[in-house]
């Protein structure tokens, strides 16, 4: 019998008439697709369609094609399902995958349309008028309290104003991606970009490498169930602290970074022995209830001199009540990660079948917190497949204060969404610790690209605001009146608080 029934997904085609025989494809491919025998010989079964070889081929002679192999049509038993069964019959294991849920569930963002001004209220030209995106992340008081300043004016009364909030130049931050799952150069790129853009990056659960200390005012340090890299210094360095309860790609599931990725640097940053597996348990073993979470929130505040503490959860069915509990437990922000959110590694069955869309989660949580009169007590950070500035605008209109982007930032660094992060062989040098691959990202180059992306999206947000006739992002935030749905059922519209187009 052959070793596998699974046929290659792609075909690597080389136009040998144009090929320089330079071997660069061999050198560039992290997956070992190419052998070289006077000319490159591809092994289709290893190809991930990441386009690294295509991009770097000086002769532009490589194309990757979908394997045209026909499967007997069956909408029920798709080719993918057949392959999954074959693979499990071969291995007896859990199928691993990475990045966000690629299944054809509805993408609600693509069923929402933004408003624009015509005649009765004028649009505003963002090239001529200020267009403000500044956002404060954190808890706000119910009301501002003032007292006379003795000179005929007013000043803040004691404790009458906004407590410790983080100022963001634009309502976009980077989502947590740990050092270990991504390379140190990726972390550096994001940290530098965060500083340049006046926003935040997030360590994820892998600790804070000392090379990132200069950017610590733009770093959220995460405390996850594995507690990797957590210590007093770590907590005090971060601009904010985030308790990670769950992740949109794998709600209810822990993490596992295999020992081969725990090199010297990762080991010292995570504070675990070199070569050992880094296991993040599914739950925090000191959080088995909401009151335990409250204790951890306040323990972290005490340990850090009362920095903002946020809580990240995966968007699951009862997300409204969960978020309400988190806010009442004292969190300064709630981070909602939708079911399309990415991961460095997750069981495919979980990634593809667990959780709910972030659009729904934002709408439900925002409304729930308003119904309870506590919306001002915490910011909402929304993530889980924010793919464009349009998604940012729609998420904010639904009620998010800030969005977090992970995949989009990695795409800016070269990621081609080949969904193979868990292999550790990323040809683009992103989700790997192999030195010959990680060096492919120069942090300065990476920072510039990610900075460009944030600036571009911010400019686009300004265009959207101008068309909407408002000149500050807070006038769009939660303003669902500026959204209309197209092709969504009535119940979903009701949950989203959005009217159908035409109403």
């Amino acid at each position: 019998m052959p070793a596998t029934f699974i046929q290659p997904e792609f075909r690597v085609k080389i136009d040998y008439d144009r090929c320089h025989k330079c071997g660069r494809c061999v050198q560039q491919c992290g997956w070992g697709v190419y052998d070289f025998n006077e000319r490159p010989i591809p092994h289709d079964e290893k190809c991930r369609a990441c386009h690294r070889c295509v991009t770097f081929c000086p002769a532009r002679c490589i194309t990757i094609e979908r394997n045209p192999l026909a499967y007997r049509d069956n909408d029920n038993w798709t080719a993918g399902l057949r392959k999954a069964v074959w693979k499990q019959a071969e291995t007896g294991g859990v199928l691993l995958t990475s990045m966000g849920n690629p299944q054809p569930y509805p993408r609600i963002f693509d069923h929402l349309l933004l408003d624009a001004c015509q005649v009765t209220n004028p649009s505003i030209d963002p090239l001529r008028e200020p267009m403000e995106l500044r956002t404060y992340l954190g808890r706000k008081p119910d009301a501002v309290k003032v007292e006379p300043d003795g000179a005929g004016g007013f000043k803040l009364a004691e404790d009458g104003g906004m407590s410790r909030n983080i100022e963001l130049a634009t309502p976009i931050i980077f989502s947590p991606m740990s050092y270990g799952s991504v390379s140190l150069n990726v972390h550096k790129s994001l940290a530098m970009a965060a500083e340049r853009c006046g926003i935040l990056m997030n360590t994820g659960e892998g600790g804070l490498h000392e090379d990132l200390y200069p950017y610590q005012d733009h770093v959220i340090v995460q405390v996850a169930s594995g507690r990797f890299g957590v210590g007093p210094e770590y907590l005090q360095r971060g601009a904010a602290i985030e308790i990670k309860i769950g992740q949109g790609a794998k709600p209810g599931i822990g993490g596992h970074l295999p020992g081969e990725k725990i090199n010297k640097e990762v080991s010292s940053t995570r504070m675990i022995p070199q070569g050992t597996d880094a296991i993040s348990p599914a739950p925090h073993h000191d959080i088995y209830s909401i009151e335990d979470l409250r204790q951890l929130i306040y323990a972290l505040k005490e340990a850090s001199g009362y920095k903002p503490v946020g809580v990240k959860i995966a968007a699951v069915h009862n997300v409204g009540a969960i978020a309400s509990g988190i806010v009442r437990a004292g969190a300064d922000y709630v981070y909602l990660d939708g079911f399309r959110g990415g991961t460095g590694a997750a069981p495919a069955v979980i990634r593809d079948h667990v959780g709910i869309p972030v659009e729904i989660a934002i709408a439900v949580v925002d409304q729930r917190l308003r119904d309870e009169g506590i919306r001002n007590q915490a910011s909402i950070v929304a993530a889980g497949s924010i793919r464009s500035s349009a998604d940012v605008a729609k998420a904010i209109a639904l009620g998010a204060d800030v969005v977090a982007i992970g995949t989009a930032a990695l795409v800016a660094l070269g990621c081609h969404v080949c969904q193979s992060c868990h292999t550790g062989s990323c040809s683009w040098g992103i989700t790997t610790q192999k030195p010959e691959l990680t060096r492919r990202i120069d942090p300065e180059w990476g920072a510039e690209r990610v900075t460009n992306l944030i600036h571009a999206w911010s400019h686009e947000l300004q265009e959207i605001l101008g068309a909407l006739g408002v000149n500050a992002i807070e006038s769009l935030r939660g303003s669902r009146e500026r959204l209309r749905s197209i092709g969504l059922d009535e119940q979903t519209c009701r949950i989203l608080g959005v009217k159908p187009a035409g109403m």
């Binding site: 403000e132 009458g160 303003s479």
Partner: protein, 402 residues
């Protein structure tokens, strides 16, 4: 038909868009003037409306009932009246209930049943509900507007009233016999709705307690403004963005106790780049104000006049997308969409100026209470200076007082 309230809800969701004309007159000396003056100011701005809405607010007009809440009601039918009166009787002593005096005017038709009531909370009611008098009245207004089909509270303040309907303002003014009333402060509105049910309650001014708003423009942030207000128990039932402005002033001034100056600042907030350049103490105040009241910011083109017992304040949006001109003639302050309106009332004013974007223009009746925090012990002059903001306007105010 004319009193059937459109609901801002899933079943009949729409928003009334429109441009408008407005005017406000306040005699700071407290001397009263007849309603004819404000009708004059509105009549010359006829072009700014299309006959689908006109209205007025007058202050100091019910000297015989200074301590009663004056409820102006619009009813679709007798059934709505019975239901509403039952609700009123549950919580209040009604010392006078009468049909609103009106006269037939050509161009004004389809009037709803118009009644007014002078009432006080039942003895012990405030204590029973553990609410302030004002909170009780707000709750009552909300209940009537939201639950009684075909009933609408046009105004609910003390010693003031709102007179509005479908028609040009001068027609509405004559219909309500405004020349028979005398007040120290008047505001008027001429409406140009581009999408209207022709509903009397939808005309301006909008009122809650003794706060009234006339508004020209469209608040593009309506969606979040209304959702923000819902958090504090306000129900935005009218489908117009002007309503949110009225409720926001009520929330910030009365319930949060913010000084008028700061409330105006929050509603038409300065740019972050300006805030960053302020001295540290003021910067912190403004940062908090903008961050906390971000959902309350009235973004989009507007000019509004807020009327209250004690004066009025006119405010433009943050980048002055709608006209607003102000003038002073002796002790009288006039604001309007057009200078023509000012000169219709005062042909030779002492000064005419264009208020800057986001900078409030204030008229204050001497000796009247002032909408600031009760705990603040400032002289009205100090507050006036603080509110007016700039030195020269402040000097001018001093001169007038002298």
């Amino acid at each position: 038909m004319s009193a059937t309230r459109p609901r801002y809800a899933e079943e009949a969701p729409f928003k009334i868009h429109g441009g408008c004309g407005l005017a406000g007159i306040c005699d700071e000396s407290g001397k009263v003037m007849s309603g004819e003056q404000i009708i004059l100011a509105m009549a010359v701005q006829r072009d700014r409306g299309n006959g689908l809405g006109g209205g007025f607010a007058g202050y100091g007009i019910y000297p015989e009932f200074p301590d009663h809440f004056a409820f102006h009601l619009m009813y679709h039918d007798e059934h709505a009246r019975e239901q509403t009166e039952a609700l009123l009787a549950e919580h209040c002593v009604v010392d006078l209930a009468e049909p609103m005096p009106t006269r037939p005017v050509k161009g004004v038709c389809d009037a709803p049943l118009l009644w007014r009531y002078f009432l006080k909370p039942l003895p012990g009611e405030i204590e029973r509900l553990e609410l302030s008098e004002e909170d009780m009245v707000v709750r009552l207004v909300m209940t009537i507007n939201a639950t009684v089909d075909g009933a609408f509270v046009a105004s609910s303040g003390k010693n003031m009233g709102v007179f509005k309907g479908v028609g040009f303002p001068e027609e509405i003014g004559h219909f309500y016999r405004l020349e028979e009333y005398e007040g120290h402060t008047w505001t008027g509105h001429n409406r140009f709705p581009t999408n209207t049910p022709g509903w009397w309650g939808g005309a301006h001014p909008f009122a809650l307690l003794d706060w009234t708003i006339v508004h020209n423009g469209e608040i593009s942030a309506y969606g979040i403004n209304s959702r923000y207000l819902e958090q504090f128990g306000y129900k935005c039932t009218l489908g117009t963005d002007t309503e949110v402005a009225a409720y926001l002033f009520d929330l910030m001034l009365r319930r949060h106790g913010l000084p008028l100056e700061l409330a105006c600042t929050a509603l038409a907030a300065p740019l972050w780049s300006d805030i960053d350049r302020m001295p540290p103490e003021k910067r912190e105040l403004m940062r908090s104000l903008r961050a906390v009241y971000g959902p309350a910011m009235l973004n989009g083109p507007f000019a509004i006049i807020l009327g209250f017992n004690g004066g009025m304040v006119a405010l433009n949006d943050r980048i002055k997308l709608r006209p607003l001109v102000a003038a002073r003639a002796g002790s009288i302050v006039i604001v309007a969409s057009e200078e023509a309106a000012i000169r219709a009332v005062a042909p030779n004013p002492d000064a005419v100026w264009m208020p800057k974007a986001g900078e409030p223009t204030v008229a204050r009746v001497q000796g009247m209470p002032w909408p600031i925090h009760g705990d603040l012990h400032l002289t009205p002059q100090q507050v006036s200076c603080a509110v007016l903001g700039t030195e020269d306007v402040c000097d001018e105010a001093v001169e007038v007082t002298a």
